[in-house]
Every structure is written in structure tokens, then in C-alpha cells.
Amino acid sequence: MSIVALDQLWVYLSGHPLVSLLVTLVAFIAATRVNRMLGGSPLLHPVILSIVLLIGFLLLTGIDYPTYFEGAQFIHFLLGPATVALAIPLYDHLDRVRAMLVPILLACCAGIVTAVGSTIGIAALLGAAPETLLSLAPRSVTSPIAMGVAEQVGGIPSLAAGLVLLTGSVGCALGPWILRLMRIEDPSVQGFTMGLAAHGFGTAHSFASIGAMAGAFAGLAMALTGLLTAFLLPLMTALLGV
């Protein structure tokens, strides 16, 4: 086989959905291995590491994002049914949720107001550009909701999605440390806090390192925060005059 043929082969393959699908899975496996080797440090979350690896790969090979997404969308699509599936752990812990309904609702409202208020406050104080500010505002909500809300208040949807992911990894890094500092030991409170502040990342983290009960509460917090933020955020941005 000559070098020219190899070249043409690559041109053909790089546009094929198979490559981005395979590369995404391989990057995730590699990132998980590296993370485990480093003792599971939340600062190098497997998701963030995979994203960095993949961006590096795309820049090196010159494949653009829309081409990559053509293959990776098969993974992205599963976010929908996975979100629906959160109803299962929620149903398993329904009695606990019923008993704690009032604390859950009040804590959720307090958390959302704190998240949105402090984000807009700090970013405005530091002089962020208006599009950045409005894309930051819904950052503690799960990405599909954040994208919708950002668009509604005048931010950039795909930037909002990226900031949501960064928030998730920051939350996973800070969360366990803050919860230990505050001596919070109840897994339902731990999970709920992680799910509210760090959406799907916090939920995945709660399932993996605290337990099924924490995971269920994290899923609940994520859904409730998403629902309430979709209604509260447009009101809050109007009130704060951004």
C-alpha cells in the first residue's frame, strides 16, 4: 500500500461517524484509568479529562466539531432516556422523599436563589461581558435545561452547556470537601446538595461514591432544580435588571 492510499483512507475515515464514536469511548476508558491511577482525584474528573483528550485529538487531526458530533451524537442521544431513568431510583426512595418534602422544596428554592444570585453578582462585579454573564446564570442546572433557559434570557446556549459541565466538575471537586467541613453525614442531604449544585455530575458522583440513596436524592434535586430554575431564572434576571 502506498502512502497516498493511506492518506485517502484517512480522508474517508475521518469523516465517518465510526471514528468519533470509537475515539469518544477510548478517551473515556483512558481518562477513567488515568483518574484511578491518580487515586480518583475529583480535580481530574474522567469527564473533564476525556473532553481535554478529545479536543486535543480533534485539533491534531483537524476534524471539526460538527463532523465529530455526527458520530458522537449516538452517545449524546442517550442523555434523554438516562434522564427519564432517574425516575427509578426516585421511586425506590419515595417514602423518604415524601417524609422530607418540605425541607426538600425549601432547600431547593434557597439553593437556586443562591446559585443564580451569587453567579450574576460575582460575574457582574468582575466585569463579565453580557453574553458570558447570561450564559453563566443557569450554570447549576442540567445542560439541556440550561441551554433552553440561556437562550430565553439572551445568553449563548452552547456556551451555557460548556459552563454547566465546568460547574459539574468544580462541584464534584469542592462538594465532598465542603460536606466534610460542615459535618453533613446524612446521605440524603449529601446527595441532594450535590445534585442541586452539580446536576448530572453530582448525581453520577453520588451514585458512585456515596450510594443509591444519595444518588436518588441527587437525581431528585437535579430534576427539581431544573424545573424550578426554568421558571425562576427569567424572573430573577428581570428583577436584577441584567
Partner: protein, 121 residues
């Protein structure tokens, strides 16, 4: 077969969720409404069918992988992130820390109050 049955239930609920979101023009994504639909269905049914549990828990185990394709999309906004990177960084870290602390505090305080005042909320 259980995988196919489970996936059909999940996708079916997502579909109903999408229909509700479009039909009622609410700014909430379809899958979130789909989750509420499935929760209601499970409450009516009284238990989780094993096929659904197998599929659902399998998906949830790999939840973090599913965020990767969207996250790679950040490369498209490299320039905007680069100009405001320190504002974004400081805001994310400080605001996330405050949110975590406030939520945990409010919830554990209310929860302890609830336990002290007996079982009724």
C-alpha cells in the same frame, strides 16, 4: 429482550414528555417531563419491572460518559472563554462553593427540625 423492553419504556416516556413540553409550551426539556411521567407510571404500577430496572440502572451507571460529546463543544467557544477566563473561573468556584454550603445548611437544619418535631412535616 429485557433491554429492548426497558429502552422502549424509557423512550416512550421521553416521547410523551416531549409532546407535553411542546404542547403546553413550557420551557422545560422533554426528558425531565418524561421522568415525571415515568415516576407517575411507577407509582400507579406499584413496582419497577425488572426489564426497566436493568436498562435504567445500566444507563445511570455510565451517566458521566453521556456528557462528553456536549462538553467537547466548548472548543467552539474557545475565544469567548479565553477573554473572560478568570471571571468565569472565579465565578464558578466561589458561587458553586456558596451554593453547596447554603443548600446543605438549609436542608440539614430543616431536616433536624422535622425530626425533633415528630414525624409530621
Amino acid at each position: 429482550m429485557p433491554l429492548i423492553v426497558g429502552m422502549s419504556v424509557l423512550l416512550g416516556c421521553q416521547f410523551i414528555g416531549e409532546l407535553l413540553a411542546r404542547g403546553l409550551a413550557v420551557p422545560v426539556p422533554g426528558p425531565v417531563l418524561g421522568m415525571l411521567v415515568l415516576l407517575l407510571a411507577l407509582m400507579v404500577n406499584g413496582r419497577v419491572p425488572s426489564a426497566l430496572r436493568q436498562t435504567g440502572e445500566g444507563l445511570l451507571r455510565y451517566l458521566t460518559l453521556l456528557f462528553v460529546p456536549a462538553g467537547v463543544g466548548m472548543m467552539v467557544h474557545a475565544r469567548l472563554i479565553a477573554t473572560d477566563w478568570w471571571v468565569i473561573g472565579v465565578t464558578l468556584v466561589v458561587s458553586t462553593a456558596v451554593t453547596l454550603a447554603v443548600t446543605a445548611k438549609v436542608m440539614s437544619w430543616l431536616n433536624q427540625r422535622r425530626l425533633r418535631h415528630g414525624s409530621d412535616p
